[in-house]
Subunit: 354 residues, 2 copies
């Protein structure tokens, strides 16, 4: 008798399954096989309620036997969540943010969430569009890796969806910010060059309006002033965080016969560009010019010569951003903090010649 019922059930299952996709196992099928209601299966899956041991075992067995995997879309539709987190990055191929993304991916994956990456391309308008795209995809939360969005925009956004933002300090309901001490990092880099005996130190700035960039410049100025040096604006060149702008800055500098013995680039990529500019002019690092970057990209140690830099752990930043988001989602107050900047001295910085 029991067998007969089982067989009848099975043929029914097969029929259902083949409707659209032969592989699809549904929660209903699990419920039937386990002899419980779909509600019970759902509750076991989500840990929503305490279920008697026997039923739980039966359900777990059925899940294993059938190889059941919940359909995230049905879950999302019914439960009002997607188990996916939107991540706004500047460029998915950025050497710095790429590492952060892998940290995010790691932590989210552990918690059963997926990441949806969208690129803002260093443009506030595009970043706004990213938010729209992510909203339409119904992500459960948004991680914003720095960028140019205004504080106000972020606060408004956080009213309807949890937001974690890096690269600034902001307090608002539903929002958590993770800020790296760019000021201190900028100060340390400059201080390192001062300690070596440099006095004419060039600063190649990052993308204008970017909080990171501004803070690093502030750190540069602070170190200079603390050393009793006057801030010389002709030593501060514009940049945009890309290699090409570092090259351009050095070319310009050399063109106007500006005298200097060291360069602090607001990120490693620009430092690489600057190094090329020096190389092209026959200037050697660090003999003729000392060079220090910022970020400590994986590539920094493979530059020739290996680049001194301020270490900022992108991977850890990504992990932190992800775990903070998860906490926000679970109603836990995030308390994580980004590690302090660290000076990494390699071979690109040395005392000046004379």
């Amino acid at each position: 008798m029991k067998n007969k019922i089982l067989m009848a059930d099975k043929s029914r299952l097969v029929k259902q399954a083949s409707a659209r996709n032969a592989q699809v196992v549904t929660l209903d099928m699990v419920a039937q096989l386990a002899g419980v209601s779909p509600s019970t299966v759902s509750r076991i899956l989500n840990g929503t309620a305490v279920v008697s041991g026997l039923k739980k075992t039966a359900v777990d067995d059925a899940i294993a036997k059938l190889g059941f995997v919940p359909n995230p879309m049905a879950r999302g539709l019914a439960g009002g969540r997607t188990l996916s987190i939107g991540v706004i990055t500047q460029a998915i191929d950025s050497p710095f943010y790429g590492v952060a993304l892998s940290g995010i991916e790691y932590e989210l994956d552990r918690a059963g969430y997926s990441a949806l990456y969208v690129s803002g391309h260093w443009d506030a308008k595009e970043e706004s569009k990213c938010i729209d795209v992510l909203r339409s995809r119904r992500v459960d939360g948004i991680i914003v890796l720095t960028g140019r969005l205004s504080d106000q925009t972020l606060k408004t956004c956080a009213k309807t969806i949890p937001v974690v933002v890096t690269g600034r300090s902001l307090k608002a309901p539903g929002l958590f910010s993770l800020n790296f001490d760019n000021f201190e990092g900028g100060r340390m880099a400059t201080q390192h060059l001062l300690d070596l005996g440099h006095r004419r130190i060039v600063f190649i700035a990052g993308a204008p309006d970017h909080p990171d960039a501004n803070e690093r410049l502030r750190g540069y100025r602070a170190a200079l002033e603390a050393a009793g040096l006057v801030y010389d604006p002709t030593l501060v060149l514009a940049g945009d965080f890309r290699e090409s702008s570092g090259l351009q800055a050095v070319t310009q500098l050399l063109g106007q016969k500006c005298s200097f013995t060291a360069i602090f680039a607001a990120n490693d990529q620009m430092a690489f560009g600057a190094a090329l500019g020096l190389h092209r002019s026959g200037l050697r690092v660090p003999r003729d010019v000392s060079l220090i970057g910022f970020d400590d990209l994986p590539m920094a140690m493979y530059a020739a010569p290996p680049l001194s830099s301020i270490h900022e752990s992108a991977y850890e930043l990504g992990c932190l951003a992800a775990t903070s988001m998860l906490q926000l989602l679970n109603g836990v107050k995030p308390l994580g903090q980004v590690p302090a900047p660290l000076l990494v001295v390699r071979e690109s910085s040395a005392p000046p010649l004379n």
Copy 2:
């Protein structure tokens, strides 16, 4: 009279909307406002059927007025598709694949699709898990950026879901492959060094079992043999496509006092590592040793000295993979082809000293 109905409708809309999320506008609301059935709105949205002009205008107006954005999950559940494509990459922070991802992102975005990135970390088992994850997310197709999955696994996978794979030539139903001519690229790089007069040319190999790596090695051998040189296995060192393995290879080489005048690294990252190894030993590029890489990463031109390489357009590869997937999804036979390899001569390669 008409006004009254509209007002009544509105209050109903508000009630519905506030149920879960105050911002949510549904297709039903659009239908009501436009005075048509939900089916019609759906058909207009999807271009599934020809709809009379008047109704279309009414619906478009209603969509605009309400700021309606279709819920992708409901769409997915009902329509059996998610408008999302899974992308299996080796590491989301890979300098090479990162650029490919941005190409994929660009093309997919244009078509209203999203990408779901998962990383295989150069491991066949992890890549298999990636497929499972993507399946459970119900992606409409899977793009596999090279990797170690067996041909058989890919073919099997393609039976139930469209697959585009790069880095190999494979024919199977539901599958399209995009292969870069790594053999020719390897040959060209080696030929370049031969043309400069080098005879003792080291090859630093890529990750074992990776088709890219094997092909580049084959190209190396072919060029050597065409030049009438005997293949010397002691000149071929193991690598894994990472900087560190390039460094290690050179260290090993120098340790065993192997004589050579040039190095061909199977990718730029290993070339950077090799450059560091040479630098540490006081050897200069290209005076003492010529160096050529493969991929032509954005960083290659910023190396010191700028690195000669074989150009492979990762961005274009990504675009091609994405458009091919879109074609597969639309029942169109993809015909795209990856551009041929291109030799880029910079400053890291020169004739040998003697």
